[in-house]
């Protein structure tokens, strides 16, 4: 049955949901208060790294991440084909580096459980490590190499996603300034600042760090907080960093366009997206410990985005029990780009009332009461 679906939010999650739902034959409208991909989506470093982002154990968040990584090869080629646009998607693999011999135990423990979930990782030391990442500081004692992890160029991916949506007939309205949910129980009516009304059968809420304000409307708690991430980038020659390199202080990833991206701060700063010296200097003092050649180089570009973080670290994905007209997909924190295909398919399955794997119950949007 064809549904008419209104999606609030034109970030990577909203656009991915739109792309998937339209591909399945539904009528889809995307409403964006600013411009599509203008917040966390466009600011992201684009790492598809569920193994390096989940260090403790195979929880539901990790499983969703691994599922999304599995979907990515097909998903990204579909976005490219439909949009006619290219964007970088690099299966570089990752290195999680450690400076202490004491980290070995933790890396070994991680490898033990991650191997059960598709990692073909190995622990590398000495020559074996410096052979595959030659510029790495010789103070690095060991690294966990995870070949499965990839990265993409997030701003171009989001632009391609938007274009792909338009080509297959998703209606996108941006620069709407503000959106109010006027009706959501019997039908969907969303009104923009200029008094235009957008109607439909279903509403998908994908408004990221701004989702909290809808809690009162739906009578539930949506504890999503903005956490600012500051990032900087260097211009390089000959791609001196081959893998995505993670440490407990941050990450570095070399892009196809010869920039080297270094992130990221986690600041509690409300909705302020300004870049601070403190935030960037911290990255600069840290990253030379991983790659000494960065010591005297100033970054050529610095920016910030707001990640939608939640109270328990898990996103809110799923329908509201009070009204099966509304599905939430918010709170992806550091992993919106990674989780975009899996979230899109999950949301579309909820809309079509299909069965979804049980672990997704952990993302129940009503779990906070």
């Amino acid at each position: 049955m064809t549904e008419t679906i209104v999606i609030m939010g034109g970030g990577v999650i909203g656009l991915s949901c739109a792309f998937e739902l339209r591909s399945r034959g539904h009528e889809v409208t995307v409403l964006e208060i600013n411009r599509c991909g203008g917040q966390a989506s466009g600011a992201a470093a684009g790492m598809l790294a569920p193994y390096s982002e989940n260090l403790e154990g195979p929880d539901e968040f990790f499983r969703l991440g691994v599922e999304s990584l599995r979907l990515y090869p097909e998903w990204q080629s579909q976005v490219k084909r439909v949009s006619g646009m290219a964007f970088e998607y690099t299966p570089s693999g990752s290195l999680y580096i450690a400076y202490h011999e004491a980290d070995r135990l933790a890396l070994e423990g991680r490898l033990l459980w991650q191997k059960e979930f598709g990692s073909t990782g190995t622990l590398l030391e000495g020559d074996a490590l410096f052979r595959i990442e030659p510029m790495l500081s010789r103070n690095v004692r060991a690294a966990l190499h995870t070949p499965e992890e990839c990265h993409l160029y997030a701003p171009e991916y989001v632009r391609a996603l938007e274009q792909a949506c338009r080509f297959i007939g998703v209606r996108i309205f941006d620069q709407l300034e503000s959106l109010a949910i006027v009706e959501w129980q019997r039908e969907i009516v969303v009104q923009s600042a200029d008094q235009r009304a957008f109607g439909g059968d279903r509403l998908i809420v994908c408004s990221g760090a701004w989702a909290r304000e809808h809690g009162d409307t739906f009578g539930i708690q949506i504890p999503v907080y903005p956490i600012r991430g500051q990032i900087c980038a260097y211009e390089t020659e000959d791609k001196p960093v081959r893998h995505m390199v993670f440490s407990n202080q941050g990450y570095l990833v070399g892009k196809e366009n010869s920039t080297l991206v270094c992130g990221a701060s986690e600041d509690v700063a409300g909705f302020d997206t300004s870049v601070t010296d403190k935030g960037i200097d911290r990255l600069r003092r840290w990253n030379k410990q991983a790659f000494p050649f960065l010591e005297h180089r100033p970054p050529f570009h610095r920016w910030a985005g707001l990640r939608p973080s939640t109270q328990d670290g898990l996103p809110l994905i799923g329908p509201l029990s009070g009204s099966n007209r509304v599905v939430l997909a918010v709170g992806h924190y550091r992993n919106g780009i990674l989780l975009s295909p899996a979230t899109a398919k999950l949301v579309a399955d909820y809309v079509e009332e299909k069965r979804v794997p049980d672990y997704n119950r952990a993302f129940d949007p009503e779990r906070f009461g």
């Binding site: 403790e56 450690a98 400076y99 202490h100 011999e101 004491a102 980290d103 070995r104 135990l105 933790a106 070994e108 423990g109 033990l112 907080y225 956490i227 407990n248 202080q249 941050g250 986690e266 600041d267 509690v268 911290r282 003092r285 840290w286 410990q289 973080s309 939640t310 109270q311 328990d312 670290g313 924190y333 779990r367 906070f368």
Partner: protein, 259 residues
């Protein structure tokens, strides 16, 4: 009533909650939870810290301007030598001269190695550290660590992060009876009732991370744990009744007897 304070070395503490800074979903929730816990002592793994610039560290940077005492730990060390090296690094960075000796040989159970823990404690005490070893819930080992100069002993309730609670309350009770230094339950606690039980057994404090950081609402759970600690402590000081096999009415039968 006299203020219920206690001491590690010559440092006076009023909170009995040592909280770990790991595993929180984000820095906002982490800071709010630490505040709600009322903890004065924060603990973290040294290997996770940027020791070259602790003020830049991804976790510690959020704690600047607050007056917490740090208890760094040597987690990841599998020998006494490694633990000693890590402790020296931590002190050299100016973080703290308190050290939680944590030495595990097995990455699956992370149970403490008591022999290596004793060796490391002996060395670090000689070097002037305030040493708080994490060790098995064994009364004899705890005594040996105390004799080696540990400022407190920290027996595990259950393996780290399991949330199984106090697996051997009998042993914990014995450890408390024997100890002349504070006993702090470290690891394995899951719920407020576990924490209250620990305090009722007479320990001086508890150390937790996972049960707070991984709760659905870490801030709410931090406050709940704080209250549990206070309740358990007050109950311990107030003295519970002894257990009886049969009922005994609270208002005494005699007064109802017909003369």
């Amino acid at each position: 009533m006299k203020k219920d304070v206690w001491r590690i070395g010559n440092h006076e503490l009023s909170s009995r909650f040592f909280i770990g800074t790991g595993l929180f979903p984000n820095p906002y929730v982490q800071m709010e939870a630490i505040k709600a816990s009322g903890a004065e002592v924060l603990t973290f793994a040294i290997r996770r810290i940027n020791l070259e610039a602790t003020e830049d560290d991804s976790i510690l940077q959020h704690l600047q301007g607050e007056s917490y005492r740090y208890l760094p730990n040597t987690s990841g060390a599998s020998t006494a030598d490694e633990a000693v090296r890590i402790a020296r690094l931590a002190r050299a960075s100016g973080l703290s001269d308190w050290i939680k000796v944590e030495i595990s040989a097995n990455e699956r159970t992370l149970l403490p190695d008591p022999i290596e823990t004793l060796k490391a404690t002996e060395i670090l005490v000689k070097e002037g550290f305030t040493v708080l070893p994490y060790l098995p819930d064994d009364p004899v080992m705890c005594k040996r660590l105390e004799e080696a100069g540990a400022a407190a002993v920290m027996p595990g309730g259950a393996p780290i992060g399991t949330g199984l609670g106090i697996l051997n309350p009998y042993n914990i009770g014995l450890i408390v009876e024997e100890a002349k230094v504070p006993v702090i339950i470290d690891a394995g606690l899951g719920s407020v009732s576990d924490v209250t039980q620990a305090m009722e057994l007479g320990v001086s404090g508890v150390l937790m991370n996972t049960p707070v950081a991984k709760a659905r609402d870490p801030v709410g759970m931090a406050q709940a744990m704080r209250l549990g600690i206070e309740a358990g402590r007050l109950a311990y000081l107030s003295g519970r009744i002894s257990k009886k096999r049969y009922a005994s009415a609270s208002s005494g039968f005699d007064e109802f007897k017909l003369k």
